[in-house]
């Protein structure tokens, strides 16, 4: 049986390539049918904010990559409710919001974890 991997993405969408490179790890795992989950926390929750305009800063629009998660069989998409609250963001449409205690329990269920 495959080992499961949780990728925790903590960077804002355009603070360098980190947000994209974290999603690339997730999507690559999905392409190989591996059990992968992704948690957005700290500034990573900004990746989920609606109506952003990547073109205004000539950056890659990551919303297509985020939409691809489902297509690659990655349904375990989470967002940290504390991080959302700190940043004045509402519950995202495309991620399940978890509080800190739920996150701790959730991390325990994965075989491996990477925090980018």
């Amino acid at each position: 049986m495959s080992k499961s991997l949780l990728v925790i993405s903590r960077q804002a969408p355009w603070s360098g390539p980190s947000a994209r490179e974290a999603l690339d790890i997730v999507l690559a795992g999905g392409a190989f049918d591996l059990p992968i989950g992704v948690l957005f926390m700290d500034d990573g929750v900004f990746q989920l904010a609606p109506h952003q305009d990547a073109k205004a800063v000539q950056q890659k629009d990551l919303s297509a990559n985020l939409q691809a998660l489902g297509l690659f069989g990655i349904d375990d998409v989470f967002a940290c409710s504390h991080s959302l609250g700190e940043r004045g963001l509402t519950q995202p449409a495309n991620a399940q919001s978890l509080d800190s205690e739920a996150i701790a329990k959730m991390i325990d269920r994965y075989d491996q974890v990477m925090t980018l």
Binding site: L5, P17, E21, I25, L34, M114
Partner: protein
Amino acid sequence: MKFAIAVFSAAHAPSSRRALLFAQAALAGGHEIVRLFFYQDGVYGASNNIVAPQDEQDIARQWRELVNVHQLDGVVCIAAALRRGVLNAEEATRYQRSAANLDAPWALSGLGQLHDAAQAADRLICFGGP
């Protein structure tokens, strides 16, 4: 026990040296390193062109030596490497760049190799940041 070691920082970062020393300790302890995978700024550690100051550790050279001496599988993520200008001869030709700065023992490959290593190993351990 089997380790997959992923390095996310350049050779001059303290975390790259820490990864190297961890790898050495793991091998000295009789453990196996399934793969060394360089991602994000870690790809810079595989560049041939690093000239470390004389009064500092040459971590890139020490990584190469570790891979050679122990015949480790040293993989550099091709997408991360291209973005950062770390190219082998094949990619330099493909993209018509003036020079290649990566060769053996490093191999350019995809993120699948990171996942493959994580699946094969007992522990996946990442190093990055300061």
